[in-house]
């Protein structure tokens, strides 16, 4: 203990040996502070937290510099869920003694865990919100908020008390008692808790008595009541010594309970395991079935593709092969060659035979020898055939039979592609027949192929007309 005047260490004397100041009263004040600190410590050790708070506050009123008392007060506040108050006491304590102070550890413990501090702040805010709901008659909402608060900070005495009060208001005495019991476990000496508990227990007693009274009313019918000395004997009517019967009955009940347990506990698990095994087997079979089904589908698809391909090939083969099994086109060409060899001058016969060859099919034959012979014959008889078709087409055109003219002139153009007259008249036939697109195509061919000729000039004129129209 140090002198308040000079700071010297005080002795057992009632004055300061350094400055001579009277320290008798000062010492008594310090002793009183220490006494209350000790009392607070004792109360805190038996979980009388409210009593500890009162004593420690008293101690600090005598001596604000009693750092131990202040630290303990902070700790007690913290235990009661009043974290901010506890933190405040530790901060003051640290300011009073900056070194070798356990408050430093407490503050660090909170500051090093910001999420914990945030949670604490949330609980405080929720508590304040719940209090607001209470004042606005939103008791259900307040209960919800307080439950949340207590889930985050289970030691918050005030929240427990407020929740108990709300339960009491709703006459849910059992729930209120549970909350108050929790309070008592945290803080044994809280007078508010005790007061509420007294009220709740009284109400529970009233309820219990009401139930008991109802049972008592039934008593006289079932029992015989008589006095034996100082004792009142209550004996049920018709009570006989039937211990052997009750033993048998108990065994019977035991057996029934055993069977029931087997039915309700063992059998379902067995059934469940058997069911799960069956389901696993079913799943495996189902998977196999799926796999096989997919394989079958795949094979069916392949078979369909092969069938289609087969059909297509057959069709192609039929196109190529005639009735006697020889290739039609080759046969036609051989026939034409045969006619040519008999009489090379008879162009009419050659042309008739040549015309029987399908030009489109002949064009698709890949054989080089075939193509050489075919082209040679085409050069030989093509202009002659083209000329005959051209004349027929021109005749039909003059007779305004444009469909027939188009057919003949198209064939003539196929046999002699270098003849500008044929192409020009074909274009005219198309134009007269109203086939504008075909006419434009034919005129364009004339203009392109026979550029600089009179035909090309006329074709260009018609082309412009058609394009404008």
């Amino acid at each position: 203990m140090k002198c308040y005047n000079c700071g010297c260490q005080l002795s057992e004397k009632e004055f300061c040996t350094g400055c001579g100041a009277d320290v008798a009263l000062y010492k008594k004040i310090m002793y009183a502070s220490n006494f209350f600190y000790n009392e607070g410590l004792e109360k805190a050790s038996v979980r009388d937290l409210s009593g500890a708070v009162a004593s420690l506050r008293q101690s600090l009123k005598f001596n604000k510099n009693n750092v131990e008392a202040r630290n303990l007060l902070g700790l007690v506040y913290f235990e009661m869920g009043e974290v901010v108050k506890g933190l405040g006491e530790w901060v003051i304590s640290k300011n009073l003694r900056s070194e070798k102070n356990i408050a430093d550890d407490y503050i660090n413990m909170i500051q090093e865990n910001p999420s914990r501090l945030e949670t604490i702040n949330q609980t405080i805010k929720k508590y304040n919100l719940a209090l607001g709901y209470c004042q606005q008659d939103g008791l259900d909402l307040a209960v919800i908020q307080l439950k949340k608060v207590l889930s985050l900070n289970p030691n918050y005495i005030r929240a427990h008390q407020l929740l108990a009060l709300l339960y009491m208001k709703a006459e849910e005495w059992e729930k209120a008692k549970r909350e108050l019991d929790k309070c008592i476990r945290i803080d044994t000496g809280n007078t508010t808790t005790r007061r509420y508990l007294k009220e709740v227990e009284a109400m529970l007693d009233v309820a219990e008595n009401a139930r008991g009274g109802m049972r008592k009313k039934a008593l006289p019918d079932d029992v015989v009541k008589y006095q034996s000395g100082n004792e009142t004997i209550i004996q049920p009517v018709g009570n006989r010594d039937n211990r052997s019967v009750s033993t048998v009955l108990n065994i019977g009940i035991g057996i029934v309970i055993g069977i029931a347990a087997a039915c309700f506990l063992i059998l379902p698990s067995r059934l469940s395991s058997a069911d799960s095994a069956a389901q696993a087997e079913l799943r495996a079979v189902s998977e196999q079935l799926d796999k096989k089904t997919s394989t079958i589908e795949e094979m069916e698809q392949q078979a369909k593709l092969l069938t289609d391909e087969n059909e297509k090939l057959k069709q192609e083969l039929n196109d190529y092969v005639g009735n006697d099994g020889a290739l039609e086109v080759v046969d036609g060409l051989l026939q034409t060659v045969s006619v040519y060899m008999e009489n090379p001058e008879d162009t009419e016969q050659i042309a008739q035979s040549f015309e029987k060859i399908d030009m489109e099919a002949a064009g698709q034959v890949e054989s080089e020898r075939f193509q050489n012979v075919y082209q040679a014959l085409l050069a030989q008889v093509g202009p002659s055939i083209a000329s005959s078709y051209y004349e027929a087409g021109l005749d039909a055109y003059q007779k305004e039979m444009y469909e027939e003219a188009i057919t003949n002139l198209t064939k003539a153009a196929q046999y002699d592609q270098e003849n500008g007259d044929i192409l020009y008249n074909l274009a005219n036939a198309y134009r007269q027949n109203g086939d504008t697109d075909e006419a434009i195509e034919a005129y364009t061919s004339v203009v392109t192929k026979f550029e600089g000729t009179e035909r090309a000039r006329r074709a260009q004129k018609y082309l412009e007309e058609l394009n404008e129209g």
Partner: protein, 52 residues
């Protein structure tokens, strides 16, 4: 019999963490020892005045 409304008035909002600093600064830390020291100093001054 507990009166709910009256009991509710005894509950006050808790101090939030943000308000802790102000609460610490505004806390009255005067103790009995301070008052004693003040009184003794006053008494000393009074004695000196009388002697003068």
């Amino acid at each position: 019999m507990i009166n709910f409304e009256e009991e509710l008035k005894k509950f006050h909002p808790s101090l939030e963490v943000e308000d802790a600093e102000d609460a610490i600064y505004n806390q009255d830390l005067t103790d009995v020892a301070d008052m004693l020291v003040g009184m003794m100093k006053e008494a000393e001054k009074e004695d000196q005045r009388r002697l003068e």
